[in-house]
Amino acid sequence: MKPIALRLFGVPALLVALLVVATGCGGASDEPTSSGQSSGSADGGQTISLVAYSTPEVVYDEIIADFAKTPDGKGIQFKESYGGSGEQSRAVAAGLKADVVAFSLAPDVTRLVDEGLVAADWNTRHRDGLVSTSLVSFIVRKGNSKNIRSWDDLLKPDVEVVTGNPFTSGGAKWNILGAYAHGGLDYVSKLIKEHVRVQPKSAREALQAFTGGQGDVLISYENEAILAQKKGQDVDYVTPDDTFLIENPIAVTKTASATANTFVDFALSREGQQRFAEWGYRPVDKEVLKANASKFPEPKKVTTIADLGGWSKVDDALFDADQGSVAKIEETAGVSTAK
């Protein structure tokens, strides 16, 4: 019987001892070959907490490494947190310490403004508060055998569409906006009711569902497509002639230090923007965009959120969980496909 008592209290004691030893180990980097940039308590230097949505993690990893080589960035420790845009925004609102926030759409920053954590004029600073843009695009199977090129092609009889759920993922709203800008609510209604069979929780999960075999086309973003290809996924992508501009905001919080502002400026500099370009995000810096023009063709028609009246109008009219038009479409879609 002694074993239980010993085991119960002996094991955690042993583990705590091990932990004291192990505290020095580990770090933040997930690269096998790097010596690991250890995060955690800054020993004398400053710390910048970056809270961002998940997809640009690869970009920020590089930007942070570049920043450390600059005189401004020397000795600055970074704490990074990546997750779903809405989740991260809510976490900051709930108390997650953040100096720089980078989300997938502006409402996630607005939430923090309402909470008093970000200054209301954030989108007048740092190049209007945007760090990158992208376009709503279609990701298709390699070879695009079904020849899907336009929004109308999505409504062809045997085409099955995958898209993220706009109510669980803010980022997925961009897709619906693209559809809406093309053909209004009628189009969106037809699309969702007749061609969308699954709506995974997030844009990335939608991509994984698609690469896992679901559907013929995935409505997603250009940068997701480029990333997927870079990571060896067997896909092609097509940007329709009329599409929607995805705008990714960046902001500093009210409690952030001057260095945080410097970091944001760095992300918006030539060097930072080039990193974004390499990973498929359209830079907001026009020069860098031009330099990468081969990768980023200009579509014929681009609608922006401003054209539709801004986010608060759009969120109320389309995406309100009870009254929004899209919410109503989703509800009726469920009824018609119920077994």
Binding site: G86, R90, R111, N165, F167, T168, S169, G170, R197, V198, Q199, P200, K201, E205, G212, G213, Q214, F319, D320, A321, D322, E330, E331, A333, G334, V335, T337, A338, K339
Partner: protein, 268 residues
């Protein structure tokens, strides 16, 4: 026993080291860990008023999600109870090479994050069932597998074999012995494990979300519906629908507990 003085024959409350103090400590612990957080959720669900609570909790989508969740969970529980008992029996009473390894592997569905379970099931059973009710069922079965098995195993091991042996010597068949002697002793454990399985299935999020397709009214489970509400900044609504699910599950669990106690009371 009647020869003993009354004061000794009647069990005193402190037998087993529990009693009033133990009760106090246990209650305090559970209050801090469980009740307090849930109280905060209840409070939040009512913060926007009773009307809002009602609207959120009983909207058509919420009700459909609730029905789907509970139905699936009950089916999963029934399957688990049957197969779980069988597997526990085989693990305790049978002997075959590799049994130890098998016994160890049974806990894996717990340790593996549900995202892994979901993706693996998707990869395995792929297009045929993906995003359908079967996918949800399979995912729930996977993550609740250990419950009944692990609930029944310890009881089986402590079981007194005398009565079984007596019945066997009197000519009773294996099936009869099981049905009339062993099973009644196992019912509390089966129900206990079943309750765990049910509760887990009801709350499950990770693996189900990934492969359920998430179509409102069709394959959307309540926990996902709650997540949607949170995402839309409707925290009160998420809280409301979660409280409803919680209450319903609690009712079913309490009912199962009563069955368990009834079974224990009719124990030999």
């Amino acid at each position: 026993m009647s020869a003993l003085p009354a004061s000794v024959a009647r069990p005193r409350p402190r037998v087993g080291g529990a009693g009033a103090i133990g009760f106090g400590i246990a209650t305090l612990w559970l209050s801090v860990i469980v009740l307090l957080p849930l109280a905060a959720v209840v409070d939040r669900s009512l913060a926007d008023g009773l009307g809002a609570f009602w609207d959120a909790a009983f909207s058509r989508q919420a009700v459909a999600a609730l029905r789907f969740t509970v139905l699936m969970s009950l089916i999963v529980t029934a399957i688990n109870a049957a197969f779980g008992t069988l597997i526990a029996w085989v693990l305790v009473r049978d002997r075959f090479p590799g049994k130890k390894v098998l016994n160890a592997v049974i806990d894996l569905p717990f340790a593996l994050p549900t995202i892994v379970a979901g993706l693996t099931l998707l990869a395995l059973y792929g297009d045929a069932i993906a995003f359908t009710k079967w996918a949800v069922l399979l995912a729930m079965l996977f993550v609740t597998l250990p419950f009944c098995i692990r609930a029944v195993q310890p009881v089986l091991m402590e079981l007194d074999r005398e009565m079984e042996e007596a019945a066997a010597s009197l000519g009773a068949s294996g099936a009869t012995i099981f049905r009339r002697i062993v099973l009644p002793n196992l019912v509390p454990a089966i129900v206990s494990g079943g309750a765990l399985a049910f509760a887990r299935a009801v709350g499950e999020f990770g693996s189900i979300v990934l492969i359920s397709g998430n179509i409102p009214f069709d394959t959307q489970v309540t926990s996902v519906y709650a997540f949607k509400q949170i995402e839309s900044d409707n925290i009160g609504g998420a809280a409301a629908v979660s409280i409803v699910l919680l209450t319903l599950s609690l009712a079913i669990l309490v009912a199962l507990r009563l069955v368990e106690r009834w079974g224990a009371r009719h124990d030999g």
